[in-house]
Symmetry: C2
Subunit: 232 residues, 2 copies
DNA sequence: CTCACAGATTGATAAATGTCAATTGACCAG
DNA sequence: CTGGTCAATTGACATTTATCAATCTGTGAG
């Protein structure tokens, strides 16, 4: 593990309040691996063995049924994924695949459960993290059920806009076909949805998004804290 | 609170392993209320004040956006709801409304968080419960994203079938328009989807479902443990 | 017992979304 | 450079799903 990895992990909400020696004990059993793009890290249905922490790169969580595949979410560094399966000691409900070259820390699930039992500060952090994850899936599902595909795209763009601190020019963080799947539509439909938003000042060239008429886009999108965050 | 209420609550996964005196302390601050059908118990966006436990009756969790409304899930007795918001001390993401006359126990959120901090057995149960909730929303979202409306209905019927211990005749647990919304379609479409399943031996008369050709229905539905449960 | 009402169904039609095929465009290996 | 590959786009069309309007039906109040 690199010298800079540990502080980055330590800074995560999940670990930041842990006592020094507990954290050290937990991280001691962990190890780092670097994966090229396109590697399937986790296969849905498999038994849980490691809590994963993405240090650098990009990972998608996806699910399959009957020959169909859909992106459920993407993981950005630095963050953990599949904590719920780890804590329940249950099978993975989603698969995970690297989208870019990625550095990933693997913490044995048994160590995590052990730390949870032994350290009440960590226990509280686990609950906070799980509750946050739960709430973000609820938001995602509300987005899917209550909005049309164009509305989902519009609000997604506004979320990206906030995430880049209100800059009017920013980048899409993934390929358009992945984004389409995440937003619950086909790539063809995403292309059309982008065109539909042109009258609201949305210009997308490659991965670069430019917003030239934010008020109109907001009026069209009707963003809502209880769907689009932040989580309060 | 009735004499029979406490044992029923005590039997829940969330409370069953708690020590006697911790449980008593938690339940002492709680109180019961009976609501007629159609009462809005929780309004999305409000601050969390109570953990709710449905003792008897029926409750739906729903969400709204831009004048649209959708059923997110239904709660059957005996179970808790909105644990995540309670633990995060955050605003509700969903509203709740009684579908039938319902007896509900309200436990002050601060008491729950207190018990979590003081009792590691309860803490473990909270994590197990949260992880289970998280996983069931993931399943629900997979169902929505990977399946067509007829496929969702078919698999829903099979889940009901398992829930009634494999009986070939059983009842729909809610009004068809609520079911339609839960399954992500309009009532009109649900009617048509039911007809579409007739060739697979699905007969629905009012709320009564009769399955006369289970093998064909299963072949059509392609149920999957990682979507339809059970959670392993 | 009967009427009124809300939910359920049906048919006709519209809108949203997906599929297929062809083309364009960007990027990387050689 | 340049050819090959894969993603993105576009157009034509099919399918799914929603909407609207018109019954039908079961249930509870009076």
């Amino acid at each position: 593990m690199r010298a800079t990895d540990v502080p980055a992990i330590r800074a995560l909400q999940l670990f930041c309040d842990m006592s020094e020696h507990r954290f050290d004990a937990l991280i001691r059993g962990a190890y780092v691996q670097v994966f090229p793009p396109g590697v399937e890290l986790i296969r849905e249905g498999d038994a849980t063995d490691f809590l994963h922490i993405l240090i650098d790169g990009s990972v998608e969580l996806f699910a399959e049924w009957n020959g169909r595949e859909t992106v459920m979410s993407t993981v950005r560094p630095v963050s953990t994924f599949i904590l719920a399966a780890t804590m329940r000691d249950a099978r993975y409900l989603m698969s995970a695949r690297t989208l870019a070259k990625s550095r990933i820390v693997l913490v044995p699930s048994t160590d995590v459960r052990h730390a949870f039992d032994a350290d009440s500060v960590f226990a509280r952090a686990v609950v906070a993290e799980l509750a946050t994850c739960y709430r973000s899936v609820i938001r995602y599902t509300k987005d899917l059920k209550l909005r049309s595909s164009v509305e989902r795209l519009a609000n997604y763009i506004l979320r990206l806009h906030s995430r880049s601190d209100g800059a009017s020019v920013f980048e899409l963080p993934m390929e358009k076909r992945k984004l389409a799947s995440l937003l619950g539509m086909t790539p063809e439909n995403l292309s059309r949805a982008i065109k539909t938003l042109q009258p609201y000042g949305v210009e997308i060239d490659g991965a670069q998004v430019t917003l030239v008429n934010l008020p109109d886009l907001v009026k069209f999108s009707k963003p809502n804290t209880l769907i689009d965050g932040p989580d309060t």
